[in-house]
Symmetry: C2
Subunit: 139 residues, 2 copies
């Protein structure tokens, strides 16, 4: 049994992903608090307000699609992850949410990039032949 | 009210962070399943097994310290984030956990890096004067 607040958070975050995937922008905006904060810590970018955030998503360039790989909800907070495709490029998106009164008040989005492993740990590590973290929630 | 499984997951992840911070490596190992998987998707690196993972952490170079900024627990899964310092360098670490029978069975670790924002969204975005995501759990 999980508590009601957690289930409410899970529901709104699930809808966030669904409506984004369907480009259902009016309904997407309905999930956001009027003064929602959207943070991109890797670039120190900040978008404030529902209208701007809807526009940002609507204008996001490229032929993108995604699948949700994690949705972890806990009271008024949640974490999600996505495998994202833009054209032929694949990315992982990691996102944190804060929710109040059933609306999303804060989103923090990370886009980690691939890099070469540092030397000195080869005795402990194997390289995975396929990209890790490329799976669906049903796996 | 939150369910027991979630609280058990939260407790083991909290101890994971505490014992790592204290370099209490024997106790750190006690939190891990014998066949724990540690994944670094950005480099396609994989470490398998409790002993290797303890050694990896023990040998991790540099004078590092961290503070936990998020701990989101949900049934047998959890997400955490940390502000990490190695010498004067600051990083954010994003980590996902899977737990079974009170032991951590899978850890997926991301280290997103800073980058310059792409052009074309200046009309929606402001730049934060200070680094975003530099806060503690008590904020």
């Amino acid at each position: 049994m999980t508590d009601r607040e957690t289930e409410r958070t899970r529901a709104v975050v699930r809808q966030y992903f669904e409506r984004m995937g369907e480009r259902e922008w009016a309904g997407f905006g309905d999930l956001l608090a009027v003064d929602v904060r959207y943070e991109l810590p890797q670039t120190n970018e900040l978008i404030t307000g529902r209208e701007r955030l809807v526009q940002f998503n609507q204008e996001y360039p490229g032929d993108w699609s995604f699948e949700v790989t994690r949705l972890i909800a806990d009271g008024t907070t949640a974490a999600g992850s996505m495998n994202f495709k833009v054209g032929t490029e694949e990315m992982v998106a990691l996102v944190y949410f804060e929710v109040a009164d059933g609306l999303i008040t804060r989103i923090t989005d990370f886009w980690p990039e691939q890099y070469e492993p540092p030397a000195g740990r080869e005795h402990l590590v194997e390289r995975s032949p396929n990209g890790l973290d490329r799976f669906t929630m049903d796996d």
